[in-house]
Protein backbone atom coordinates (compact mmCIF):
# COMPACT_ATOMS: atom_id res chain seq x y z
CA UNK A 1 0.00 0.00 0.00
CA UNK A 2 1.25 3.41 -0.89
CA UNK A 3 0.40 6.69 0.75
CA UNK A 4 -2.04 7.32 -2.04
CA UNK A 5 -3.94 4.14 -1.31
CA UNK A 6 -4.44 5.41 2.22
CA UNK A 7 -5.24 9.00 1.35
CA UNK A 8 -7.76 8.29 -1.38
CA UNK A 9 -10.28 6.43 0.77
CA UNK A 10 -9.76 8.93 3.57
CA UNK A 11 -10.65 11.86 1.34
CA UNK A 12 -13.53 9.93 -0.15
CA UNK A 13 -14.86 9.16 3.33
CA UNK A 14 -14.56 12.76 4.46
CA UNK A 15 -16.42 14.07 1.42
CA UNK A 16 -19.08 11.41 1.87
CA UNK A 17 -19.50 12.30 5.53
CA UNK A 18 -20.53 15.85 4.60
CA UNK A 19 -23.48 14.64 2.53
CA UNK A 20 -24.40 12.07 5.12
CA UNK A 21 -24.54 14.72 7.81
CA UNK A 22 -26.72 17.03 5.72
CA UNK A 23 -29.16 14.26 4.90
CA UNK A 24 -29.55 13.25 8.54
CA UNK A 25 -30.04 16.75 9.92
CA UNK A 26 -33.69 17.03 8.87
CA UNK A 27 -34.60 13.73 10.43
CA UNK A 28 -32.81 14.54 13.67
CA UNK A 29 -34.65 17.77 14.30
CA UNK A 30 -38.07 16.26 13.58
CA UNK A 31 -37.32 13.38 15.90
CA UNK A 32 -35.98 15.63 18.61
CA UNK A 33 -39.05 17.87 18.81
CA UNK A 34 -41.91 15.63 17.78
CA UNK A 35 -40.55 12.14 18.50
CA UNK A 36 -41.59 11.08 15.02
CA UNK A 37 -39.41 8.64 13.13
CA UNK A 38 -39.89 10.22 9.76
CA UNK A 39 -39.80 7.44 7.17
CA UNK A 40 -41.10 9.88 4.56
CA UNK A 41 -37.67 11.47 4.79
CA UNK A 42 -36.59 9.16 1.96
CA UNK A 43 -39.49 10.29 -0.20
CA UNK A 44 -38.75 13.97 0.41
CA UNK A 45 -35.10 13.46 -0.54
CA UNK A 46 -36.30 11.82 -3.74
CA UNK A 47 -38.58 14.80 -4.43
CA UNK A 48 -35.63 17.12 -3.81
CA UNK A 49 -33.63 15.27 -6.43
CA UNK A 50 -36.41 15.60 -9.01
CA UNK A 51 -36.87 19.26 -8.03
CA UNK A 52 -33.25 19.89 -9.01
CA UNK A 53 -33.66 17.74 -12.11
CA UNK A 54 -36.66 19.69 -13.39
CA UNK A 55 -35.02 23.07 -12.77
CA UNK A 56 -31.88 21.86 -14.50
CA UNK A 57 -33.66 20.42 -17.52
CA UNK A 58 -36.04 23.34 -17.99
CA UNK A 59 -34.03 26.37 -16.97
CA UNK A 60 -30.46 25.01 -16.89
CA UNK A 61 -30.31 26.03 -13.29
CA UNK A 62 -27.25 24.84 -11.43
CA UNK A 63 -28.21 22.30 -8.76
CA UNK A 64 -26.36 24.36 -6.16
CA UNK A 65 -28.80 27.20 -6.83
CA UNK A 66 -31.67 24.72 -6.74
CA UNK A 67 -30.45 23.56 -3.35
CA UNK A 68 -30.95 27.05 -1.95
CA UNK A 69 -34.32 27.34 -3.68
CA UNK A 70 -35.34 23.97 -2.29
CA UNK A 71 -35.22 25.29 1.29
CA UNK A 72 -38.27 27.62 1.13
CA UNK A 73 -40.16 25.34 -1.26
CA UNK A 74 -39.79 22.26 0.92
CA UNK A 75 -40.37 24.29 4.06
CA UNK A 76 -43.80 25.17 2.71
CA UNK A 77 -44.31 21.58 1.63
CA UNK A 78 -43.45 20.34 5.11
CA UNK A 79 -45.87 22.78 6.73
CA UNK A 80 -48.58 21.57 4.37
CA UNK A 81 -47.88 17.93 5.20
CA UNK A 82 -47.99 18.77 8.88
CA UNK A 83 -51.32 20.53 8.47
CA UNK A 84 -52.76 17.73 6.36
CA UNK A 85 -51.50 14.63 8.18
CA UNK A 86 -49.11 14.96 11.06
CA UNK A 87 -51.12 17.25 13.33
CA UNK A 88 -53.86 14.62 13.64
CA UNK A 89 -51.52 12.22 15.37
CA UNK A 90 -51.89 11.99 19.12
CA UNK A 91 -49.08 13.93 20.76
CA UNK A 92 -46.57 11.81 22.57
CA UNK A 93 -43.22 12.14 24.24
CA UNK A 94 -42.41 8.64 23.02
CA UNK A 95 -42.23 7.63 19.38
CA UNK A 96 -45.47 5.87 18.46
CA UNK A 97 -46.13 3.10 15.98
CA UNK A 98 -48.96 5.04 14.40
CA UNK A 99 -46.63 7.90 13.55
CA UNK A 100 -44.15 5.42 12.08
CA UNK A 101 -46.80 3.80 9.91
CA UNK A 102 -48.35 7.12 8.92
CA UNK A 103 -45.05 8.45 7.64
CA UNK A 104 -44.42 5.14 5.95
CA UNK A 105 -47.75 5.38 4.13
CA UNK A 106 -46.90 8.90 3.10
CA UNK A 107 -43.56 7.69 1.75
CA UNK A 108 -45.36 5.05 -0.34
CA UNK A 109 -47.62 7.78 -1.72
CA UNK A 110 -44.71 10.09 -2.58
CA UNK A 111 -42.78 7.27 -4.20
CA UNK A 112 -45.64 6.16 -6.39
CA UNK A 113 -46.85 9.62 -7.32
CA UNK A 114 -43.29 10.28 -8.45
CA UNK A 115 -43.24 7.13 -10.53
CA UNK A 116 -46.44 8.28 -12.21
CA UNK A 117 -44.92 11.65 -13.05
CA UNK A 118 -41.34 10.72 -13.89
CA UNK A 119 -41.67 7.03 -14.77
CA UNK A 120 -39.65 4.42 -13.02
CA UNK A 121 -36.37 5.05 -14.76
CA UNK A 122 -33.12 6.50 -13.56
CA UNK A 123 -32.41 10.17 -14.14
CA UNK A 124 -29.28 12.09 -13.47
CA UNK A 125 -28.02 15.63 -13.60
CA UNK A 126 -24.97 16.20 -15.71
CA UNK A 127 -23.49 19.67 -15.19
CA UNK A 128 -20.29 20.90 -16.76
CA UNK A 129 -18.34 20.03 -13.61
CA UNK A 130 -20.08 16.75 -12.72
CA UNK A 131 -17.50 14.44 -14.21
CA UNK A 132 -14.32 16.44 -13.79
CA UNK A 133 -11.90 16.45 -10.95
CA UNK A 134 -8.89 18.37 -9.65
CA UNK A 135 -5.62 16.52 -9.62
CA UNK A 136 -3.12 17.08 -6.88
CA UNK A 137 -0.29 14.85 -7.92
CA UNK A 138 -1.76 11.38 -8.00
CA UNK A 139 -4.77 12.32 -5.92
CA UNK A 140 -7.95 13.27 -7.71
CA UNK A 141 -10.72 15.19 -5.96
CA UNK A 142 -14.05 15.25 -7.70
CA UNK A 143 -15.22 18.84 -8.15
CA UNK A 144 -18.87 18.04 -7.60
CA UNK A 145 -18.15 16.04 -4.44
CA UNK A 146 -16.18 18.91 -3.03
CA UNK A 147 -18.92 21.41 -3.93
CA UNK A 148 -21.54 19.22 -2.28
CA UNK A 149 -19.36 18.77 0.78
CA UNK A 150 -18.92 22.53 1.21
CA UNK A 151 -22.64 23.17 0.73
CA UNK A 152 -23.49 20.48 3.26
CA UNK A 153 -21.09 21.73 5.90
CA UNK A 154 -22.16 25.34 5.41
CA UNK A 155 -25.82 24.43 5.78
CA UNK A 156 -25.24 22.57 9.01
CA UNK A 157 -23.17 25.37 10.49
CA UNK A 158 -25.84 27.94 9.56
CA UNK A 159 -28.57 25.75 11.01
CA UNK A 160 -26.64 25.26 14.20
CA UNK A 161 -26.01 28.98 14.63
CA UNK A 162 -29.59 29.82 13.70
CA UNK A 163 -30.94 27.46 16.32
CA UNK A 164 -28.66 28.91 18.95
CA UNK A 165 -29.54 32.53 18.26
CA UNK A 166 -33.18 32.80 17.19
CA UNK A 167 -36.30 32.70 19.36
CA UNK A 168 -37.59 29.82 17.23
CA UNK A 169 -34.34 27.95 17.72
CA UNK A 170 -34.54 28.48 21.44
CA UNK A 171 -38.11 27.22 21.57
CA UNK A 172 -37.08 24.15 19.58
CA UNK A 173 -34.32 23.40 22.02
CA UNK A 174 -36.65 23.99 24.91
CA UNK A 175 -39.17 21.51 23.53
CA UNK A 176 -36.45 18.94 22.90
CA UNK A 177 -35.30 19.24 26.49
CA UNK A 178 -38.68 19.23 28.14
CA UNK A 179 -41.91 19.75 26.23
CA UNK A 180 -44.01 20.39 29.34
CA UNK A 181 -41.70 22.90 30.93
CA UNK A 182 -41.35 24.62 27.59
CA UNK A 183 -45.09 25.17 27.43
CA UNK A 184 -45.16 26.52 30.95
CA UNK A 185 -42.66 29.20 30.02
CA UNK A 186 -44.73 30.21 27.03
CA UNK A 187 -43.54 28.14 24.10
CA UNK A 188 -46.38 27.38 21.68
CA UNK A 189 -45.90 23.66 21.16
CA UNK A 190 -48.12 23.32 18.09
CA UNK A 191 -46.50 26.23 16.33
CA UNK A 192 -43.05 24.94 17.19
CA UNK A 193 -43.95 21.48 15.95
CA UNK A 194 -45.33 22.84 12.69
CA UNK A 195 -42.26 24.98 12.03
CA UNK A 196 -39.98 22.13 13.01
CA UNK A 197 -41.62 19.75 10.61
CA UNK A 198 -41.29 22.41 7.90
CA UNK A 199 -37.64 22.92 8.73
CA UNK A 200 -36.91 19.20 8.80
CA UNK A 201 -38.63 18.70 5.46
CA UNK A 202 -36.76 21.68 4.02
CA UNK A 203 -33.50 20.07 5.03
CA UNK A 204 -34.49 16.71 3.59
CA UNK A 205 -35.31 18.39 0.29
CA UNK A 206 -32.03 20.29 0.40
CA UNK A 207 -30.14 17.04 1.02
CA UNK A 208 -32.03 15.43 -1.85
CA UNK A 209 -30.76 18.13 -4.21
CA UNK A 210 -27.21 17.56 -3.02
CA UNK A 211 -27.54 13.79 -3.47
CA UNK A 212 -28.93 14.30 -6.97
CA UNK A 213 -25.59 15.87 -7.94
CA UNK A 214 -23.73 12.73 -6.94
CA UNK A 215 -26.01 9.85 -7.84
CA UNK A 216 -28.58 8.96 -10.41
CA UNK A 217 -32.05 8.64 -8.96
CA UNK A 218 -35.41 7.00 -9.52
CA UNK A 219 -38.65 7.21 -7.51
CA UNK A 220 -37.25 4.48 -5.27
CA UNK A 221 -34.28 6.72 -4.53
CA UNK A 222 -33.74 7.41 -0.88
CA UNK A 223 -34.26 4.05 0.80
CA UNK A 224 -30.55 3.22 1.19
CA UNK A 225 -29.99 6.78 2.40
CA UNK A 226 -32.87 6.52 4.84
CA UNK A 227 -31.21 3.52 6.46
CA UNK A 228 -27.92 5.35 6.59
CA UNK A 229 -29.65 8.31 8.20
CA UNK A 230 -30.93 5.98 10.89
CA UNK A 231 -27.44 4.73 11.58
CA UNK A 232 -26.10 8.25 11.75
CA UNK A 233 -28.67 9.76 14.05
CA UNK A 234 -28.57 6.76 16.33
CA UNK A 235 -24.80 6.94 16.42
CA UNK A 236 -24.91 10.67 17.02
CA UNK A 237 -27.37 10.55 19.85
CA UNK A 238 -30.27 12.09 17.94
CA UNK A 239 -30.68 15.65 19.01
CA UNK A 240 -27.42 17.43 18.39
CA UNK A 241 -25.96 18.41 15.08
CA UNK A 242 -22.43 17.86 16.25
CA UNK A 243 -23.51 14.31 17.07
CA UNK A 244 -24.88 13.96 13.57
CA UNK A 245 -21.61 15.15 12.08
CA UNK A 246 -19.72 12.63 14.17
CA UNK A 247 -22.10 9.81 13.27
CA UNK A 248 -21.80 10.67 9.60
CA UNK A 249 -18.04 10.59 9.77
CA UNK A 250 -17.99 7.23 11.55
CA UNK A 251 -20.37 5.66 9.03
CA UNK A 252 -18.51 7.07 6.03
CA UNK A 253 -15.19 5.81 7.36
CA UNK A 254 -16.56 2.36 8.13
CA UNK A 255 -18.19 2.06 4.73
CA UNK A 256 -15.17 3.18 2.79
CA UNK A 257 -12.60 1.29 4.78
CA UNK A 258 -14.35 -1.98 5.50
CA UNK A 259 -14.17 -3.22 1.94
CA UNK A 260 -10.54 -2.19 1.59
CA UNK A 261 -9.76 -5.07 3.92
CA UNK A 262 -8.41 -7.85 1.73
CA UNK A 263 -10.89 -10.69 1.44
CA UNK A 264 -13.98 -8.58 2.00
CA UNK A 265 -15.81 -8.47 -1.31
CA UNK A 266 -17.33 -5.20 -2.40
CA UNK A 267 -20.71 -6.89 -2.77
CA UNK A 268 -20.92 -7.07 1.02
CA UNK A 269 -20.63 -3.32 1.41
CA UNK A 270 -24.36 -2.62 1.83
CA UNK A 271 -24.61 -5.31 4.50
CA UNK A 272 -21.97 -3.52 6.51
CA UNK A 273 -23.89 -0.29 6.94
CA UNK A 274 -27.17 -2.11 7.56
CA UNK A 275 -25.50 -4.44 10.00
CA UNK A 276 -23.95 -1.45 11.73
CA UNK A 277 -27.44 -0.04 12.23
CA UNK A 278 -28.52 -3.15 14.10
CA UNK A 279 -25.33 -3.29 16.13
CA UNK A 280 -25.53 0.35 17.12
CA UNK A 281 -29.14 0.02 18.16
CA UNK A 282 -28.25 -2.95 20.32
CA UNK A 283 -25.16 -1.54 21.93
CA UNK A 284 -27.38 1.14 23.43
CA UNK A 285 -29.53 -1.21 25.49
CA UNK A 286 -32.54 1.07 25.94
CA UNK A 287 -32.35 2.33 22.43
CA UNK A 288 -32.01 5.94 21.51
CA UNK A 289 -34.10 7.24 24.34
CA UNK A 290 -31.82 5.59 26.86
CA UNK A 291 -28.85 7.38 25.46
CA UNK A 292 -30.76 10.63 25.43
CA UNK A 293 -31.65 10.30 29.08
CA UNK A 294 -28.11 9.56 29.97
CA UNK A 295 -26.97 12.61 28.08
CA UNK A 296 -29.40 14.89 29.88
CA UNK A 297 -28.46 13.53 33.24
CA UNK A 298 -24.77 13.93 32.69
CA UNK A 299 -24.84 17.19 30.78
Amino acid sequence: MTLQDLLDPLIAALLLAGVYAAMSAGMTIVYGVMKIVNLAHAGVMMLGAYFAYELFERFHLDPLVSAVLALPVFFAFGMAVHWLLVRWLPRSDQPTLSSLLLMFGFWLVLQNVASLIWKNEDRSINTSYTLTSWHFGDIAISKVRLAVFIAAVLSIVILQIGLKRSWFGKSIRAVIQNPYAAQIVGVDYDRTARLTFGLGTAFSGFAGVLLSMLYSFSPDFGRPFLLRSFVIIVLGGLESFSGVALGALVLALVETWSIQIPGVEASYQPAISYGLLVVVLLVLPKGIAGLLERRWRTG
Binding site: L102, G105, Y268, L276, V278, I288
Partner: protein, 320 residues
Amino acid sequence: MNLPSTIKRLLPFLVLLVFFLLPSAGASTDVIRLLFTTFVWTITSVSWNLVGGFTGQTSFGFAVFYGLGAYTAGLMINAGYNPYFAFPAAAAVGLLASFLVGLPAFRLRGPYFAIATIGLTEAVRVIMSNLKITGGASGLSIVEHRVFQQTEHYYSALLALAMAVGISMLIADSRFGLALRAIRQDEDAAADIGVNPYMGKLWIHGIAAALTGIAGALHARYAVFVDPGGGPGGVFAFQTGISILLMPVIGGIGTIWGPVLGGAIFGIVEEELVVRFPSVHLLLYGILLILIILLEPDGLVGLLRKIFRRSSWKFSQSKA
Protein backbone atom coordinates in the same frame (compact mmCIF):
# COMPACT_ATOMS: atom_id res chain seq x y z
CA MET B 1 -76.76 -20.77 22.69
CA ASN B 2 -78.60 -18.59 20.22
CA LEU B 3 -78.66 -19.07 16.51
CA PRO B 4 -76.48 -16.16 15.28
CA SER B 5 -73.56 -17.11 17.51
CA THR B 6 -73.76 -20.73 16.38
CA ILE B 7 -73.58 -19.57 12.78
CA LYS B 8 -70.70 -17.30 13.68
CA ARG B 9 -68.86 -20.21 15.23
CA LEU B 10 -69.54 -22.53 12.33
CA LEU B 11 -68.80 -20.04 9.59
CA PRO B 12 -65.02 -20.60 9.54
CA PHE B 13 -65.57 -24.34 9.14
CA LEU B 14 -68.06 -23.75 6.34
CA VAL B 15 -65.60 -21.53 4.50
CA LEU B 16 -62.90 -24.13 5.02
CA LEU B 17 -65.19 -26.82 3.62
CA VAL B 18 -65.95 -24.71 0.54
CA PHE B 19 -62.26 -24.19 -0.12
CA PHE B 20 -61.64 -27.86 0.50
CA LEU B 21 -64.18 -28.91 -2.12
CA LEU B 22 -63.23 -26.26 -4.64
CA PRO B 23 -60.63 -28.18 -6.68
CA SER B 24 -62.85 -31.23 -7.08
CA ALA B 25 -65.67 -28.91 -8.06
CA GLY B 26 -63.75 -28.04 -11.17
CA ALA B 27 -62.23 -24.65 -10.38
CA SER B 28 -59.80 -23.64 -13.11
CA THR B 29 -56.03 -23.86 -12.80
CA ASP B 30 -55.88 -20.11 -12.63
CA VAL B 31 -58.35 -19.80 -9.77
CA ILE B 32 -56.46 -22.48 -7.84
CA ARG B 33 -53.17 -20.70 -8.46
CA LEU B 34 -54.62 -17.39 -7.32
CA LEU B 35 -56.06 -18.96 -4.19
CA PHE B 36 -52.78 -20.71 -3.45
CA THR B 37 -50.92 -17.40 -3.61
CA THR B 38 -53.60 -15.81 -1.46
CA PHE B 39 -53.30 -18.54 1.17
CA VAL B 40 -49.53 -18.13 1.34
CA TRP B 41 -49.81 -14.37 1.77
CA THR B 42 -52.58 -14.75 4.33
CA ILE B 43 -50.41 -17.06 6.43
CA THR B 44 -47.75 -14.35 6.63
CA SER B 45 -50.42 -11.77 7.39
CA VAL B 46 -51.88 -13.83 10.23
CA SER B 47 -48.38 -14.48 11.58
CA TRP B 48 -47.38 -10.85 11.49
CA ASN B 49 -50.53 -9.98 13.37
CA LEU B 50 -49.44 -12.18 16.28
CA VAL B 51 -46.46 -9.91 16.80
CA GLY B 52 -47.66 -6.63 15.32
CA GLY B 53 -51.29 -6.85 16.37
CA PHE B 54 -51.55 -8.88 19.56
CA THR B 55 -48.26 -7.74 21.02
CA GLY B 56 -47.88 -4.33 19.38
CA GLN B 57 -44.36 -4.80 17.98
CA THR B 58 -44.11 -3.47 14.43
CA SER B 59 -41.65 -5.46 12.39
CA PHE B 60 -40.50 -4.68 8.87
CA GLY B 61 -38.41 -7.80 8.99
CA PHE B 62 -40.73 -10.72 8.33
CA ALA B 63 -39.20 -11.15 4.90
CA VAL B 64 -36.21 -12.65 6.71
CA PHE B 65 -38.24 -15.62 7.96
CA TYR B 66 -40.17 -15.92 4.73
CA GLY B 67 -36.91 -16.03 2.79
CA LEU B 68 -35.14 -18.39 5.16
CA GLY B 69 -38.13 -20.74 5.01
CA ALA B 70 -37.98 -20.64 1.23
CA TYR B 71 -34.27 -21.39 1.15
CA THR B 72 -34.56 -24.15 3.73
CA ALA B 73 -37.26 -25.88 1.73
CA GLY B 74 -35.33 -25.38 -1.49
CA LEU B 75 -32.08 -26.78 -0.16
CA MET B 76 -33.82 -29.74 1.51
CA ILE B 77 -35.81 -30.67 -1.57
CA ASN B 78 -32.67 -30.39 -3.66
CA ALA B 79 -30.92 -32.68 -1.19
CA GLY B 80 -33.61 -35.27 -1.90
CA TYR B 81 -35.75 -35.00 1.22
CA ASN B 82 -39.49 -35.42 1.05
CA PRO B 83 -41.03 -31.95 0.75
CA TYR B 84 -43.21 -32.68 3.76
CA PHE B 85 -40.07 -32.81 5.84
CA ALA B 86 -39.09 -29.49 4.36
CA PHE B 87 -42.07 -27.67 5.87
CA PRO B 88 -41.29 -28.45 9.51
CA ALA B 89 -37.65 -27.78 8.78
CA ALA B 90 -38.55 -24.37 7.39
CA ALA B 91 -40.59 -23.70 10.51
CA ALA B 92 -37.67 -24.74 12.69
CA VAL B 93 -35.27 -22.48 10.82
CA GLY B 94 -37.77 -19.64 11.12
CA LEU B 95 -38.02 -20.24 14.85
CA LEU B 96 -34.27 -20.35 15.24
CA ALA B 97 -33.80 -17.19 13.22
CA SER B 98 -36.48 -15.46 15.26
CA PHE B 99 -34.46 -16.09 18.41
CA LEU B 100 -31.34 -14.77 16.76
CA VAL B 101 -33.26 -11.65 15.82
CA GLY B 102 -35.41 -11.41 18.91
CA LEU B 103 -32.91 -12.10 21.69
CA PRO B 104 -31.05 -8.87 21.03
CA ALA B 105 -33.74 -6.85 19.23
CA PHE B 106 -36.47 -7.19 21.85
CA ARG B 107 -34.29 -5.30 24.21
CA LEU B 108 -35.38 -2.41 22.01
CA ARG B 109 -38.80 -0.91 22.30
CA GLY B 110 -41.38 0.04 19.69
CA PRO B 111 -39.99 2.02 16.80
CA TYR B 112 -36.37 1.14 17.58
CA PHE B 113 -37.26 -2.49 17.16
CA ALA B 114 -38.99 -1.59 13.89
CA ILE B 115 -35.94 0.27 12.61
CA ALA B 116 -33.63 -2.55 13.61
CA THR B 117 -35.75 -4.98 11.60
CA ILE B 118 -35.36 -2.83 8.48
CA GLY B 119 -31.59 -2.94 8.81
CA LEU B 120 -31.67 -6.64 9.52
CA THR B 121 -33.69 -7.56 6.42
CA GLU B 122 -31.35 -5.66 4.17
CA ALA B 123 -28.28 -7.15 5.79
CA VAL B 124 -29.64 -10.70 5.49
CA ARG B 125 -30.59 -10.10 1.87
CA VAL B 126 -27.11 -8.92 0.96
CA ILE B 127 -25.49 -11.85 2.74
CA MET B 128 -27.80 -14.42 1.20
CA SER B 129 -27.26 -13.08 -2.29
CA ASN B 130 -23.53 -13.48 -1.90
CA LEU B 131 -23.34 -16.97 -0.45
CA LYS B 132 -22.38 -19.85 -2.72
CA ILE B 133 -24.69 -22.40 -1.09
CA THR B 134 -27.79 -20.32 -1.79
CA GLY B 135 -26.98 -19.83 -5.45
CA GLY B 136 -26.01 -16.20 -4.91
CA ALA B 137 -27.88 -13.29 -6.39
CA SER B 138 -29.07 -15.42 -9.30
CA GLY B 139 -31.28 -17.37 -6.96
CA LEU B 140 -31.77 -21.01 -6.13
CA SER B 141 -33.38 -23.42 -8.56
CA ILE B 142 -35.30 -26.24 -6.91
CA VAL B 143 -35.54 -29.64 -8.54
CA GLU B 144 -38.28 -31.84 -7.16
CA HIS B 145 -38.39 -35.30 -8.70
CA ARG B 146 -42.14 -35.58 -8.70
CA VAL B 147 -44.88 -34.65 -11.08
CA PHE B 148 -46.20 -31.20 -10.38
CA GLN B 149 -49.66 -31.44 -8.87
CA GLN B 150 -51.26 -28.09 -8.38
CA THR B 151 -53.99 -29.34 -6.07
CA GLU B 152 -51.43 -30.87 -3.73
CA HIS B 153 -49.83 -27.45 -3.30
CA TYR B 154 -53.26 -25.94 -2.86
CA TYR B 155 -54.21 -28.34 -0.08
CA SER B 156 -50.93 -27.98 1.78
CA ALA B 157 -51.34 -24.19 1.72
CA LEU B 158 -54.95 -24.44 2.83
CA LEU B 159 -53.95 -26.72 5.68
CA ALA B 160 -51.15 -24.41 6.77
CA LEU B 161 -53.48 -21.43 6.66
CA ALA B 162 -56.09 -23.25 8.74
CA MET B 163 -53.36 -24.09 11.20
CA ALA B 164 -52.18 -20.46 11.35
CA VAL B 165 -55.68 -19.13 11.92
CA GLY B 166 -56.30 -21.88 14.50
CA ILE B 167 -53.14 -20.97 16.38
CA SER B 168 -54.07 -17.32 16.26
CA MET B 169 -57.53 -18.11 17.70
CA LEU B 170 -56.08 -20.32 20.42
CA ILE B 171 -53.58 -17.68 21.47
CA ALA B 172 -56.19 -14.92 21.46
CA ASP B 173 -58.32 -16.82 23.95
CA SER B 174 -55.47 -18.01 26.17
CA ARG B 175 -53.71 -16.53 29.19
CA PHE B 176 -50.70 -16.09 26.96
CA GLY B 177 -52.84 -13.96 24.64
CA LEU B 178 -53.95 -11.82 27.55
CA ALA B 179 -50.36 -11.35 28.61
CA LEU B 180 -49.48 -10.26 25.06
CA ARG B 181 -52.28 -7.71 25.06
CA ALA B 182 -51.01 -6.39 28.36
CA ILE B 183 -47.56 -6.00 26.82
CA ARG B 184 -49.06 -4.07 23.93
CA GLN B 185 -50.88 -1.69 26.21
CA ASP B 186 -48.13 -0.99 28.69
CA GLU B 187 -44.98 -3.00 29.02
CA ASP B 188 -44.04 -1.68 32.43
CA ALA B 189 -47.50 -2.22 33.83
CA ALA B 190 -47.50 -5.73 32.39
CA ALA B 191 -44.22 -6.44 34.11
CA ASP B 192 -45.71 -5.17 37.36
CA ILE B 193 -48.54 -7.69 37.23
CA GLY B 194 -46.16 -10.56 36.66
CA VAL B 195 -45.86 -10.80 32.89
CA ASN B 196 -42.38 -11.11 31.48
CA PRO B 197 -42.58 -8.83 28.42
CA TYR B 198 -39.24 -9.94 27.04
CA MET B 199 -40.10 -13.64 27.08
CA GLY B 200 -43.62 -13.00 25.84
CA LYS B 201 -42.37 -11.07 22.85
CA LEU B 202 -39.67 -13.63 22.15
CA TRP B 203 -42.05 -16.57 22.09
CA ILE B 204 -44.83 -15.00 20.06
CA HIS B 205 -42.20 -13.78 17.62
CA GLY B 206 -40.91 -17.34 17.39
CA ILE B 207 -44.34 -18.80 16.66
CA ALA B 208 -44.99 -16.13 14.03
CA ALA B 209 -41.58 -16.70 12.45
CA ALA B 210 -42.13 -20.45 12.26
CA LEU B 211 -45.46 -19.94 10.48
CA THR B 212 -43.90 -17.39 8.13
CA GLY B 213 -41.13 -19.89 7.40
CA ILE B 214 -43.75 -22.42 6.35
CA ALA B 215 -45.31 -19.81 4.07
CA GLY B 216 -41.90 -19.23 2.50
CA ALA B 217 -41.44 -22.96 2.01
CA LEU B 218 -44.85 -23.28 0.36
CA HIS B 219 -43.97 -20.46 -1.98
CA ALA B 220 -40.56 -21.92 -2.82
CA ARG B 221 -41.90 -25.38 -3.52
CA TYR B 222 -44.53 -24.00 -5.86
CA ALA B 223 -42.29 -21.50 -7.67
CA VAL B 224 -39.41 -24.03 -7.81
CA PHE B 225 -37.12 -21.04 -7.63
CA VAL B 226 -36.01 -18.71 -4.86
CA ASP B 227 -34.90 -15.22 -5.78
CA PRO B 228 -33.09 -13.46 -2.93
CA GLY B 229 -34.23 -10.14 -4.33
CA GLY B 230 -31.93 -7.41 -5.48
CA GLY B 231 -35.05 -6.05 -7.11
CA PRO B 232 -38.64 -6.32 -5.96
CA GLY B 233 -40.17 -9.80 -5.88
CA GLY B 234 -37.31 -11.51 -4.14
CA VAL B 235 -38.03 -13.24 -0.86
CA PHE B 236 -35.78 -10.89 1.10
CA ALA B 237 -36.79 -7.77 -0.81
CA PHE B 238 -37.84 -4.77 1.25
CA GLN B 239 -41.14 -4.92 -0.66
CA THR B 240 -41.86 -8.40 0.69
CA GLY B 241 -41.50 -7.23 4.28
CA ILE B 242 -43.77 -4.31 3.51
CA SER B 243 -46.45 -6.46 1.90
CA ILE B 244 -46.49 -8.71 4.96
CA LEU B 245 -47.02 -5.65 7.14
CA LEU B 246 -49.61 -3.94 4.97
CA MET B 247 -52.05 -6.84 4.84
CA PRO B 248 -52.88 -7.05 8.55
CA VAL B 249 -52.78 -3.28 9.02
CA ILE B 250 -55.31 -2.80 6.25
CA GLY B 251 -57.43 -5.70 7.41
CA GLY B 252 -57.36 -4.71 11.05
CA ILE B 253 -54.55 -5.51 13.46
CA GLY B 254 -55.11 -7.24 16.73
CA THR B 255 -58.18 -9.08 15.47
CA ILE B 256 -58.43 -12.67 14.25
CA TRP B 257 -60.19 -12.03 10.95
CA GLY B 258 -58.67 -8.69 10.05
CA PRO B 259 -55.37 -10.17 8.83
CA VAL B 260 -57.27 -12.89 6.99
CA LEU B 261 -59.40 -10.30 5.27
CA GLY B 262 -56.31 -8.19 4.51
CA GLY B 263 -54.48 -11.19 3.11
CA ALA B 264 -57.43 -12.26 1.01
CA ILE B 265 -57.85 -8.80 -0.46
CA PHE B 266 -54.14 -8.49 -1.07
CA GLY B 267 -53.80 -11.89 -2.69
CA ILE B 268 -56.78 -11.59 -4.97
CA VAL B 269 -56.67 -7.91 -5.84
CA GLU B 270 -52.89 -7.48 -5.97
CA GLU B 271 -52.30 -9.37 -9.19
CA GLU B 272 -55.21 -7.69 -10.93
CA LEU B 273 -53.95 -4.29 -9.82
CA VAL B 274 -50.47 -5.14 -11.02
CA VAL B 275 -51.79 -6.27 -14.37
CA ARG B 276 -54.08 -3.32 -14.91
CA PHE B 277 -52.27 -0.52 -13.16
CA PRO B 278 -48.64 -1.55 -12.72
CA SER B 279 -47.58 1.73 -11.18
CA VAL B 280 -50.59 2.63 -9.09
CA HIS B 281 -51.15 -0.34 -6.85
CA LEU B 282 -48.67 0.71 -4.17
CA LEU B 283 -50.04 4.23 -4.28
CA LEU B 284 -53.44 2.85 -3.36
CA TYR B 285 -51.92 0.92 -0.47
CA GLY B 286 -50.16 4.07 0.72
CA ILE B 287 -53.36 6.10 0.70
CA LEU B 288 -55.27 3.28 2.37
CA LEU B 289 -52.60 3.03 5.07
CA ILE B 290 -52.75 6.77 5.81
CA LEU B 291 -56.54 6.73 5.95
CA ILE B 292 -56.57 3.72 8.23
CA ILE B 293 -54.00 5.17 10.63
CA LEU B 294 -55.79 8.50 10.86
CA LEU B 295 -59.42 7.44 10.69
CA GLU B 296 -59.89 3.77 11.50
CA PRO B 297 -56.98 2.19 13.38
CA ASP B 298 -58.87 -1.09 13.57
CA GLY B 299 -58.73 -1.48 9.81
CA LEU B 300 -61.40 -2.83 7.53
CA VAL B 301 -62.69 -5.22 10.17
CA GLY B 302 -63.15 -2.30 12.53
CA LEU B 303 -64.96 -0.42 9.81
CA LEU B 304 -67.22 -3.36 9.02
CA ARG B 305 -67.96 -3.85 12.68
CA LYS B 306 -68.95 -0.21 13.02
CA ILE B 307 -71.21 -0.37 10.00
CA PHE B 308 -72.75 -3.59 11.22
CA ARG B 309 -73.28 -2.24 14.70
CA ARG B 310 -74.81 0.97 13.47
CA SER B 311 -77.17 -0.80 11.11
CA SER B 312 -78.25 -3.34 13.71
CA TRP B 313 -78.71 -0.52 16.18
CA LYS B 314 -80.93 1.28 13.69
CA PHE B 315 -82.71 -1.94 13.02
CA SER B 316 -83.50 -2.58 16.66
CA GLN B 317 -84.53 1.06 17.07
CA SER B 318 -86.99 0.89 14.24
CA LYS B 319 -88.40 -2.31 15.65
CA ALA B 320 -88.95 -0.66 18.96
